[in-house]
């Protein structure tokens, strides 16, 4: 599990490392019916016999003979109850990751065929052993969300394929997590809370980052003595180091405006960016929480440490897409979700004016804010004058919103989802982010 929260290129946390597959077992009862093959043979036999009788031509009776022989081969007793097991390899996976469903039936005599009817938003990838007692279907989920996998149909035939029975097995749902954006660097506040961590603080401490040399005072460690400096100055000099602190990160995902092409919409990019940021900061031993903003309120998760926190954060974000009902307006974030002195990283297309007002309000309350603009769509370009003018006014409004936030001391960077998050964040990750109240 050491690589549970990796952040390298092309690597994903192993969601199924903790989300073990769910196995279900059920006894299904089936009803046997004539198969299509039997109906066709019956049609041929009846047509031949009927026409032989009507036309008094015996060769048509011969024409019907093979079909009659195939049909009249006798009927053995066919079982009507079967034990079927379904097992989803992982109930949690990432966008584009291949998942699998294993299905088995306890019968070995009959001819079997499994068919996967994929649910909405689930793409079948491949099938193995679809004609045997055990089959494996692989699938992918291209877009995040809670998805129903669909159903698996078991088609049973007798040995001569004259009788057919079907059983439909509903498959459970899976949680598809947004593909985390790549982020290796972190924005670090200049003023960090007094809690042990990995970021070098401005105050002296017991960390590993060298900050300077000072004169020895009683009580200093002997191993901290800087002998070259002591020789030069003639008095004992000791090295000083920066304290190492952690910070509180609150990720805010604006789920009020989901614009753009599905798969690369503002909400898609927001969730992917937030997932990547959560991994990056949790790798740095920071406490990370999330607030998912939507119409009618917010869902939040208090900052915490640990490997599992990233999955709790994503779960919180995933549950946000269910609440699209327009409800009360909001203008303040819940206090419990926002520890004092935390860095608030916002992923938003900045289209909702009330959300922008909320950001201003937070800034006035003294929080250090950082906005990642995930807007990748704009009004369509048309030739008419009014359309062009509307588009231009819309662009100016967007620029004005971003300008006003920057004037309040809130950095705004644009991220298009295709590049690593490190690139737009680069100007702010090279040195600590200084915020003024």
């Amino acid at each position: 599990m050491s690589s549970l929260i990796p952040n390298g290129p092309g690597r994903l946390p192993q969601a199924h490392a903790f989300a073990v597959g769910r196995a279900e077992q059920a006894e299904v009862e089936v009803r046997w019916r004539p198969s299509r093959q039997a109906r066709r043979l019956l049609t041929l036999a009846l047509a031949g016999l009927l026409l032989a009788t009507l036309t008094r031509r015996p060769e048509f009776a011969g024409l019907a003979a093979p079909a009659l022989l195939l049909l009249g081969g006798g009927h053995s007793k066919l079982p009507t109850r079967f034990l079927v097991r379904t097992r989803v390899a992982s109930s949690q996976l990432y966008e584009g990751e291949i998942g699998a469903v294993d299905v088995t039936v306890d019968d070995t005599e009959l001819d079997k065929r499994w068919m996967l009817q994929a649910g909405r938003g689930v793409e079948p990838a491949s099938a193995t052993g679809a004609g045997g007692a055990a089959a494996r279907f692989e699938f992918t989920v291209p877009r995040w969300g809670r998805r129903q996998l669909g159903s698996v149909t078991l088609v049973l035939h007798d040995r001569w394929r004259l009788s057919e029975a079907r059983a439909v097995l509903e498959l459970p749902g899976v949680d598809c997590y947004p593909h985390p954006a790549m982020q290796r660097t972190r924005v670090v506040l200049s003023k960090l809370p007094n809690r042990l961590g990995e970021h070098a603080a401005r105050v002296a401490g017991e960390g590993t980052e060298f900050t300077g040399v000072r004169e020895y005072v009683p009580g200093d460690r002997q191993r901290a003595i800087n002998w070259p400096a002591t020789t030069r100055r003639g008095r004992l000099q000791v090295n000083t180091f920066a304290a190492e602190r952690s910070q509180d990160i609150v990720l805010v995902v604006d789920a009020t405006s989901d614009v753009g092409t599905p798969g690369s919409s503002a909400l898609d990019l927001g969730l992917r960016g937030a997932a990547g940021a959560a991994q990056a900061y949790l790798d740095g031993r920071d406490r990370v929480g999330v607030i998912c903003y939507q119409w009618g309120g917010a869902r939040w998760l208090a900052p915490s440490l640990g490997r599992r926190q990233v999955y709790k954060i994503i779960d919180t974000m995933l549950s946000a897409d269910a609440g699209w009902a327009r409800g009360d307006a909001f203008n303040r974030l819940p206090r419990a979700a926002l520890p004092p002195g935390s860095l608030v990283v916002v992923f938003s297309p900045l289209l909702d004016q009330r959300f922008v007002e909320t950001l201003r309000d937070m800034r006035e309350r003294g929080f250090a804010l950082f906005v990642v603009d995930v807007l990748t769509a704009q009004p369509p370009a048309r030739r008419t004058f009014t359309d062009a003018m509307t588009r231009r006014i819309w662009r100016m409004e967007q620029q004005a919103i971003r300008f006003s936030l920057r004037e309040l001391g809130i950095p705004v960077v644009h991220w298009d989802g295709s590049e690593p998050l490190d690139l737009p964040l680069a100007p702010y990750t090279r040195r600590p982010l200084v915020t003024h109240r």
């Binding site: 016999l49 009776a61 011969g62 195939l70 009817q117 001569w160």
Partner: protein
Amino acid sequence: MTGPVRLGTAGVAGAAGPRLAAILLGAACVAWTAIPLRTTGLAGTALVVSIAAVTAGALRLALADVPQPEDEFFLAAPMRAWLTFLGLLRALPWEEIAVVAIVWLEVQHPARPWYTAALGAGLVAYLLAVHIAESGAPARLLRRQGKVLFAGACLVALGGGFGTLSAAGPGAGSALLRVLAAVAVVAAAALVLPGRD
């Protein structure tokens, strides 16, 4: 999109063979029955229906892997027409229609017993090929049914032989007697043969 699981390259190649065989057998049956060509009256109708049914059955097999879109709202007219066409292909029993039309077309011709017997073998082969193509049944299915198919071929030949025999005497009664004899032989064979291996 919902629909069958996509096949790999080997799967596509494996599925193409039986489909092609079914299509060719259907076309061969129609061509065999249509010669000599008679396009008037019931024969013409039966010929048109059989061609249409075999063609539709072939299209159904060829398009079996085309998935059905899950979102059918606000679709463009060509897409709606395409989906209706696909639904029609998959809803009607084209093979049954084709079999009835082909047999009816054969009735329109004057008696030619061996020709009809060969058609019977062709139709059974066509139906088996269609079944294998659409269900992906393994080739051992034919091996299981080999004995019965052989017996069926013998009976087809026997039916053809009955057809070539001249009636015992003038009148409709003797011809009917020949038919009843042939039907009795076929029924007896169906009852006597154990069928299952």
